[in-house]
């Protein structure tokens, strides 16, 4: 097992292994640091950041659905300055890449966030243009190819950092959106963010979530996520970080075969805090069993005749 090369090179951003954790599901690493050795992750996508502190949406913020969950956290976060001062030093101890997930209400806000993070220890920026839980326009950015192109280009010009654009699945044609991000200057694409969903309490005749709608994540969305990763991988040349419902090694391998160069685990952390390590071992076993030397050998290797 030790002879297998698990590292992946996302066109400049080298991860020691393809297993990363999805933004918003892993806080700033501290909490799950009690369960897993953070040094063993490929990268940590931190909780979505905004320029100023955000308190987020009222509760309930979570609803369970069949093999999925809805959340409406609404980007609660301490703001980028507090992140840099209080969280980044902790995260910088680990030789795991740190990816800052940034969220703006306007293109300008995205650019300011990118600038602010440019000379910090973060290894990459993940432009979240797809959060369904902020009213002011997060969604609008991610659903229109022209807007995706514009925001990506502006942020690209604001920072020399490695730039990942995180796509929304709530679109007509994911390939079109992926191309827009690529042409805007993204180094990498990550997808999917949550699908938009709703759940109703029939006794109270109200939505379960205080905010009404929320983002659907977890195993339920895996088939949609996998299809979108496959389509995006066909559409662009830049590398892809795939996510959406990954709960075990088999799921992760499906995404790699479909064309993702790395994967993120989100909701599954909540159920099994050791899941990332189990996925690591499972991928290594699979590669060994199938006679591969490197995880790179299976990326995009789906046969489709």
């Amino acid at each position: 097992m030790s002879k297998i090369d698990m590292s992946v090179d996302l066109n400049g951003l080298v991860l020691q292994n393809p297993i990363t954790v999805a933004s918003g599901t892993f806080g700033f690493g501290r909490e799950y640091g009690e369960y897993v050795d953070l040094n063993r992750l490929g990268a940590i996508m931190v909780k979505g950041l905004t320029l100023e502190e955000r308190k987020g949406n009222p509760t309930p913020r979570v609803a369970e659905t069949p093999m999925g969950m809805l959340n409406s956290v609404g980007l609660q976060n301490p703001g980028v300055e507090a992140f840099i001062k209080e969280e980044l030093p902790y995260l910088s101890q680990f030789h795991t890449k740190i990816i800052a997930n940034i969220n703006g209400n306007t293109i300008e806000e995205y650019c300011r966030l990118a600038e602010r993070l440019s000379d910090t220890a973060v290894d990459a920026l993940e432009l979240n243009i797809s959060c369904p839980n902020v009213k002011e326009g997060g969604v609008a950015f991610g659903r229109d190819p022209e807007m995706v192109h514009r925001v990506t280009r502006c942020v690209r010009q604001s920072t020399p950092k490695y730039l990942i654009v995180k796509l929304s699945p709530n679109v007509r044609d994911i390939g079109e959106i992926a191309v827009a991000a690529e042409e805007g200057g993204a180094d990498c694409i990550s997808l999917i963010n949550t699908l938009i969903g709703m759940s109703i309490d029939i006794e109270r005749q109200r939505p379960v979530l205080a905010r009404g709608i929320g983002g659907l994540s977890g195993p339920a969305i895996k088939p949609v996520a996998l299809r979108m990763v496959y389509e995006a991988a066909k559409a662009v040349k830049i590398p892809i970080i795939g996510m959406g419902g990954i709960a075990n090694d088999q799921d992760a391998i499906e995404f790699l075969l479909a064309g993702a160069s790395a994967i993120s685990v989100g909701t599954a952390n909540f159920i099994n805090p050791y899941v990332t390590m189990e996925i690591y071992d499972g991928i290594a076993d699979y590669l060994e069993r199938k006679g591969y030397q490197s995880v790179k050998d299976i990326i995009g290797k789906l046969n489709f005749s």
Binding site: G24, T25, G27, E31, Y35, T59, M67, Q76, T267, F270
Partner: protein, 255 residues
């Protein structure tokens, strides 16, 4: 030390209307569990239902940890149907738990919210501990509380046992009689809100065990926010991490 452990169920027993006691074998490493802390439990053996369910520690006995669970949906129904010999996947102990403080204390529990007070009661058993338990109808756990306290009073909404009415009325009566060092409360939100009001009125400190829907249970996902006072304003803190027990001073209930 927080950890995920797979433990054996050693007992499952129905102890009240839709209420079950589940005892698991206490594994090594979980020596310092405090009352008010909870475990995040997988209801089934598979990933369905998806999320873990937060369940408070009820009692810590030599070799076992007991939980008392009320069937209130798919997850708790499944949990209550699990059999001795089967294994249970627990994450914990989580949250802060009650702070043990005071010589004269009063415990106020409502419904299934009585369960998390039992271990607390045991800890206070040699002090002056009054226990007020409120139920809609048929009470449960009462005799167990009586083992640790001579002052156990019951209120039921239908009047079938004890005082007919709310447990908070009993609280007000007690505080009117004599002062207390601390009120510990666990129960439905309306009850906690009333406890807060009463504790302020009588100037008695309180600790409230709050409930909020959770996903991770460990402080990473931020879905379980509880509104607390912060300086002039307010802040959202994590029920699973900063809570579930909060000082009655700080919790801000919605209007």
């Amino acid at each position: 030390m927080q950890e995920r452990k797979i433990c054996q169920i050693i007992e499952t027993q129905c102890i009240g209307p839709d209420v079950y006691k589940i005892v698991i074998e206490k594994p090594q490493g979980w020596e310092n569990i405090r009352p008010g802390q909870f475990f995040h439990i997988r209801a089934g053996e598979d990933w369905y239902p998806l999320l873990r369910r937060p369940i408070s520690v009820c009692e810590i006995q030599g070799i076992g940890i007991s939980f008392v669970v009320r069937k209130s949906g798919k997850g708790t129904e499944l949990l209550c149907s699990r059999k001795p010999g089967e294994s249970l996947d627990l994450l914990g102990p989580l949250g802060n738990g009650f702070t043990i403080e005071g010589e004269k204390v009063i415990l106020v529990g409502g419904g299934i919210g009585t369960a998390p007070l039992l271990e607390l009661c045991r800890i206070f058993k040699d002090k002056d501990v009054t226990v007020l338990l409120g139920f809609r109808a048929e009470p449960y756990l009462v005799e167990v509380f009586q083992r640790y306290s001579h002052h156990v009073k019951v209120a039921t909404e239908d009047g079938s046992v004890g005082y007919k009415g709310y447990v908070t009325t009993l609280l007000e009566e007690e505080l009117a009689k004599r002062s207390m060092d601390m009120i510990y409360a666990c129960g439905p939100e309306v009850m906690l809100k009333e406890v807060q009001r009463i504790s302020r009125r009588y100037g008695v400190k309180s600790q409230l065990a709050m409930e909020e829907r959770m996903a991770c249970g460990v402080g990473a996902c931020l879905v379980c926010s509880c509104k607390v006072k912060a300086g002039e304003g307010w802040d959202y803190v994590r029920t699973c991490k900063e809570g579930p027990v909060f000082s009655g001073d700080e919790v801000m209930f919605d209007e």
